[in-house]
Subunit: 240 residues, 2 copies
């Protein structure tokens, strides 16, 4: 496939400690798939400056777009913006347009615009803001790195603001076929089919639910007609 | 904290494409937390040989234990065992004890021990098997890398077989305190508290559910008395 490639970097102790279950990766994976951008890697790191800098620099050199989630709030463990500035070697400070957005938001909801909240207006030099219609505090894009909030409702709103800006490829289409046989029995014909349709990605995923064993075969590709053709072949090989 | 460090590497296209939501990372994060092993990074890569080799070699050099999930079944997209052998520069082939386990399992359930199923007995030279009480096909440990299945029921059974073998540290204890104020209002006293209790990890996680806004503050550490003390301080700062 020739679509643009992407990675997501999820920043925060709460997921690695097992306390919280991530949902942003799954949301972004689905949104990118529809936009024709291929998610090739996901990483989760703790709130540690050096770990964030190293992961951002590694990923931004290897994929076309990097999306981050988490660590841009007002508290002491929100260190993402500084780490991004360090990764790019640029300065960071309060930016007037971001500060104005936040000031207006807190005035509207009648809550104090504290010094800690003002920290959320600290944006690395040269970045472009990403709109946050939920809680005002903006994300930002610097080069090919797009920095967004960790709270799922805010993350999802930022993804919706950002994605139309990025150049996607053709949406990746996917169809699946459910086979009530174990992977070991479908493996040989499937390998043959994968060889014939090497422009597609054909994956097999075993399942067992309530004593029923089987294999879901998923065919993915950019050409709808080719995907449909491969699934027709599957249906003939393994009738329902 | 001085506990042993760990990383998890999740291998497979199905999660990056957004089709499936991972649950193994969350399961392992909780199990490691109880065992006193600190999960410092998680990565997800697609079923691509070079990507798996690169990720395994990067992670095993940086943390004490690496756990992998996925890609050890019988089909053409199951390439993890070969990638691990390549990462360590060792040979791989059918191993007699693994083959015997599988042969006995398929005889017992009355299903054919096909050539594809025999692939699951291919184990890198020098590895130790990890028991699979669910579907027999074993995982394996090679050096500090522990290779397990992607199907959640099997992954979880393998983690249960494996963890008692590894040397853990002290379990990491965690308590949380719910504050009905935004992060911006709790940030300053929280930063002060985090400075005083620098042997603990104090994280703050904003939430909004059904129009209620607030912040969950989570205190984690190895010393139960210290964690309790910090939470008592929190309760005094932000009464319920």
């Amino acid at each position: 496939m020739t679509n643009p490639t992407a990675a997501i970097l999820i920043i925060g102790d709460e997921i690695l400690s097992g306390r919280t279950r991530d949902s942003n990766m799954h949301h972004l994976a689905r949104a990118l798939s529809r936009a024709g951008i291929e998610l090739v890697e996901a990483r989760l790191v703790a709130d540690r400056h050096e770990d964030i800098v190293a992961a951002v620099n590694d990923l931004r050199a290897r994929v076309e777009q990097v999306f981050t989630s988490g660590g841009i709030g007002p508290t002491h463990d929100d260190i993402t913006a500084d780490a991004i500035a360090a990764a790019f070697g640029v300065s960071i400070g309060i930016r007037e347009d971001a500060r104005a957005l936040l000031a207006a938001h807190y005035a509207r909801i009648g809550s104090g615009f504290t010094a800690e909240r003002q920290r959320m207006a600290r944006i690395p030099e040269g970045a472009e803001l990403i709109e946050n219609p939920v809680t005002a505090a903006p994300g930002f894009s610097l080069g090919n790195v797009h920095v967004m909030a960790g709270v799922p409702a805010v993350f999802e709103a930022m993804v919706a603001s950002l994605l139309p800006r990025l150049t996607g490829g053709r949406p990746i289409l996917s169809q699946s076929w459910r086979v009530l046989r174990g992977e070991g029995e479908v493996a040989a014909p499937l390998a043959q089919l994968a060889k014939e349709y090497d422009d597609l990605s054909i994956g097999s995923y075993p399942f067992q639910h309530d004593g029923v064993f089987g294999t879901n075969v998923v065919v993915r590709g950019e050409e709808g007609a080719r995907v449909a053709e491969a699934v027709t072949r599957l249906a003939a090989l393994f009738p329902a």
